[in-house]
């Protein structure tokens, strides 16, 4: 089993509800964002557009955080979820340096690192992660990579760090681009 987030950039309208649903669920400190909505570069897809990718932890197959952590504060579950165990964390920030996706963040208040755990507890109870459940556009989904047709999905979008480093499990659906008619309205 290989649980993974699917980020449907063809559906995402960049409303930030996912990241706020996450904050609301875990009452996170204001500056800490386990999930972040990234605006993709405006001209990435040929014509100007406002498209987005919502990222949290990519629950990598080779998590760099886990390898770098000297305190064994990270574990990878059988279903692929990478868990950070706060009680073992010593706040050395090695994982923050090692992660190519800037996922682990340092909580200045508790002097430890924290990150997305794909709502493992909720999933164990058969519920969807807060972000997935909270997305009004249904632009986020959890799939099992071992058991999903990945034909329409990609492992990366332009601007996403080299996936060879840690083999992130996150999959993307690329934005659709419509036709744009811009008249001769040059002021």
């Amino acid at each position: 089993m290989k649980k993974a987030f699917v980020v449907k950039s063809d559906r995402c309208v960049g409303c930030h509800a996912c990241e706020m649903a996450c904050k609301n669920e875990y009452q996170l400190e204001a500056t800490i964002r386990w999930r972040k909505v990234y605006q993709l570069p405006e001209n990435e897809f040929g014509v100007p557009s406002r498209h987005f990718a919502s990222l949290a932890c990519n629950h990598c197959e080779n998590p760099a955080c886990l390898a770098a952590c000297p305190a064994k504060a990270y574990t990878k579950r059988e279903d692929g979820i990478v868990i950070h165990h706060t009680e073992r964390c010593i706040g050395c920030k090695m994982c923050m340096m090692a992660c190519p996706y800037k996922v682990p963040v340092f909580n200045e208040k508790i002097k430890k690192v924290e990150k997305c755990h794909m709502c493992a507890d909720k999933q164990d109870r058969g519920e969807k992660p807060a972000c997935v459940a909270g997305c009004p556009m249904e632009a986020l989904e959890i799939v099992d990579l071992d058991d999903t047709n990945l034909a329409n999905m990609r492992s990366f979008l332009p601007g996403f760090p080299d996936i060879a480093i840690t083999k992130p499990t996150t999959r993307f659906i690329t934005p659709n681009l419509g036709i744009q008619v811009r008249g001769n309205n040059n002021g």
Binding site: V13, C15, E19, R50
Partner: protein
């Protein structure tokens, strides 16, 4: 306040012979007395409860909320899964509620300011507040022979039905001056009122049935994200999505076809399309014959005055595109148009909406599932308005309420005469921040004898008040909410105890009434007692029960309910116009000084001095001055910016992120530039929002220019917010 206690060094050090055994209420170490604390009464297990709430913001989506309360503390909010519109999801703003109610900076107690604007506040009891306000009301009445010098400015900070009790409270003291109108949507409402008899839209969940959808000057991805799901669903089912907007919004980025139009020329596009439809006989003659009035006149107007070529020139959209869009729109059935509020905030906004309505009418898309000209609906608002409907006391002076334009509030207050306005009551509003021409509004406040503001937070209006009253949030008080867009009815339960001394506006009205009657029997008709939940119950009537298929309002405690009837607007073909038909020719419009047909009114043009149009559109992390000031929002974005096309930036020698001064003859703001090809080259864009600790407000530059329509349905014309011409320069 008088010098009540002067503890001098000497008096303090005086070696008193008296032994003080106990200190006031706190007792002595041997005889401890509780004051703020108390022994735990029963071993209560800290419990987790869920409550139904409703988002009361001025928003299309009016979400049904489920809140989690642990040991009396609100810990989580979620969307209700029982509403097929909310679908278990909230927006970014809704998810932030746990933060906003627990800010230490909430207004906690009634307070009185010594000198307006001085910042010198003293805490007063509710009784003192009521006494002072009541005495002022009675004194005004005595001096001027009526309560007309008292002016209410209340709008949409909280759209809960019971909050109309604020209007009720003012009614219950006599004839008063009312700031009427709405800043938001009047031109469009009037347009639809002339055309259909009122504004009435299909259930937005019906969007999925459209085969062709034009979103015209609306940005649901930001302002109605739950609707955006249905838009996407429609696309999935094969609907073609067209978005017409000067800004390539996030909604537009989802479109199959995006059309960048010159601002304020929407009517020209609609009329151009209509001419093509007419010329190619793509209109629904049968529908028109049966359901409309004035089709002939309208067609003749088109033939005489409109050409597609002209429309292309006006709008900046190539002729071929207009023609193909007109053909597709007229031949793909059903076709739906969502008319946004943004596109009617112009001096020709009402006419433009009428032109678009006409498109839907001539193609026979009215009254159909998947079709329609969607603007808003007022169908589910048929409450009893028990709190609002109060009798005026006898012999309280004046003939009737005096209405002034909310969209030009400052100037109209200053101009009011015989009697002048001497007292203001402000609720659910922040006029000093959100009204145009900030400086004039300030002057109006300065001219008052007494300004009372009921609010949750300090803002620029509270700063200019004499008395501020702390009010409850939606989680602290019962209520009931509906949307002006979807068809759900949600009860709002009291989920937590009101914090500090905050009170519901209706409670304030009851208690003020008691005080007025105590000082002068019969001076106020507002009920002086009643349980707030019972008040909620009294807002319902049989019509609402019937519409929603319930026997009693308490059934809503199980969850939100959707209207059972009327989900497709005008399905029965019975229009509420004087003729009972869809009126392409409207005599009613004529009465209000408009041309009876949907015609093109020339849009305002920029001039040499102020060459750019500033569009102050809504912002995704806030509603007007609400939400963007919260920490969670600031963590996502805390930097307002001025969006401009690279052509504009080049012309003015501005680089990305450089500070730019945007100004006109009434004011200026300085913002960092954001260079983007998502806006058209004839505009600049500032999203209207209030950032905590930042003195940046686009309204410093917005003049109170009225839109063409609004007077009939809302009392005052709307505001042409987007006809704001400015100049920019590098700072």
């Amino acid at each position: 306040m008088d010098k009540k206690y002067a503890i001098t060094r000497r008096s303090f050090l005086r070696n008193s012979a008296i032994t003080v055994a106990s200190i006031g209420l706190s007792g002595s170490i041997y005889e401890f007395l509780f004051s703020g604390l108390a022994p735990v009464t029963a071993a209560k297990i800290s419990d987790v409860k869920k409550f139904l709430n409703a988002c009361p913001r001025n928003c299309y989506d009016t979400c049904s909320i489920v809140s989690t309360v642990a040991d009396g503390i609100l810990t989580k909010v979620e969307g209700s899964t029982l509403s097929s519109y909310t679908r278990g999801k909230l927006c970014a703003k809704g998810y932030s509620y746990t933060r906003s109610i627990y800010s230490p900076d909430r207004i906690k107690y009634p307070m009185k300011q010594k000198v307006r604007g001085s910042g010198n506040w003293e805490r007063i009891s509710w009784d003192e507040a009521y006494t002072e306000i009541a005495q002022k009301i009675l004194q005004i009445k005595k001096e001027y022979g009526s309560t007309l010098p008292i002016c209410l400015n209340k709008y949409s900070g909280n759209f809960d039905i019971m909050h109309y009790g604020i209007e009720g409270m003012l009614t219950s003291i006599g004839n008063t001056t009312r700031a009427t109108g709405t800043p938001c949507w009047p031109a469009g409402i009037d347009a639809q009122t002339f055309d259909f008899g009122t504004t009435y839209c299909n259930d937005p969940e019906d969007i999925v049935n459209a085969k062709y959808l034009i979103i015209w000057g609306a940005n649901p991805a930001w302002c109605s994200v739950h609707s955006m799901y249905f838009v996407k669903e429609a696309q999935k089912r094969g609907c073609k999505l067209i978005v017409i907007d000067p800004i390539l919004t996030q909604t537009a980025s989802q479109a199959d076809l995006y059309i960048q139009i010159k601002p304020s020329t929407d009517g020209a596009l609609a009329l151009g399309m209509a001419r093509y439809i007419l010329d190619n006989e793509l209109y629904d003659g049968e529908w028109l014959a049966k359901n409309s009035k004035g089709a002939e006149e309208f067609f003749s107007y088109l033939q005489k005055n409109i050409t597609v070529e002209w429309a292309a020139q006006k709008t900046g959209i190539p002729r071929g595109v207009i023609e193909s869009m007109a053909r597709e729109y007229a031949t793909t059935k059903p076709a739906n148009i969502w008319i946004g509020y943004g596109m009617q905030r112009h001096t020709n906004g009402g006419q433009n909406v009428r032109a678009i309505d006409a498109l839907a009418a001539i193609t026979g898309n009215i009254g159909k599932s998947g079709g329609g000209a969607q603007y808003a609906q007022l169908q589910t608002w048929g409450f009893a308005y028990y709190a609002m409907m109060q009798k005026k006391p006898e012999n309280s002076g004046g003939k009737s309420d005096r209405l002034i334009n909310i969209n030009n509030f400052g100037a109209e207050v200053l101009n009011a005469n015989e009697p002048p306005i001497k007292m203001m009551w402000i609720a659910c509003r922040n006029p000093i921040s959100q009204d145009p021409e900030t400086a004039v509004v300030n002057k109006a406040f300065e001219a008052m004898d007494l300004v009372v503001t009921a609010d949750m937070y300090m803002n620029s209006t509270v700063e200019m008040s004499d008395i501020v009253l702390p009010v409850t949030t939606t989680f602290e008080t019962p209520g009931v909410n509906v949307s002006y867009w979807h068809y759900w009815l949600s009860l709002n339960e009291q989920a937590i105890t009101p914090m500090y001394e905050c009170k519901n506006d209706v409670t304030i009205a009851m208690e003020l009434s008691a005080k007025l009657n105590e000082l002068e029997q019969g001076s106020c008709t507002f009920p002086v007692s009643g349980d707030l939940e019972e008040w909620v119950g009294k807002e319902f009537n049989d019509a609402i029960y019937k519409q929603f298929g319930i026997q009693d309002w308490t059934e809503l405690k199980k969850g939100p309910i959707k209207a059972k009837t009327g989900l497709i607007a005008w399905q029965d073909g019975k229009f509420k116009t004087p003729s009972g038909k869809y009126e392409l020719w409207s005599d009613e419009a004529k009465k209000f000084g408009h041309f009876p047909l949907p015609v093109y009114t020339e849009e305002l043009q920029p001039n040499d001095e102020f060459p750019l149009r500033c569009i102050s559109a809504h912002w995704k992390l806030g509603i007007n001055s609400q939400f963007q000031n919260l920490d969670w929002m600031a963590a996502i974005n805390n930097e307002p910016c001025l969006e401009m096309h690279p052509i504009v930036a080049n012309k003015f020698g501005i680089k990305d992120k450089e500070p730019v001064k945007m100004y006109n003859d009434i004011g200026y703001i300085v913002l960092p530039a954001k260079i983007t090809e998502t806006v058209s080259p004839d505009i600049v864009v500032v999203y209207e929002a209030w950032y905590k600790g930042k003195k940046i407000n686009v309204n410093y530059t917005v003049k109170a220019i009225p839109a063409d329509m609004g007077k009939k349905a809302t009392g005052s014309p709307g505001m042409a917010f987007h006809d704001n011409f400015v100049a920019i320069k590098k700072v």
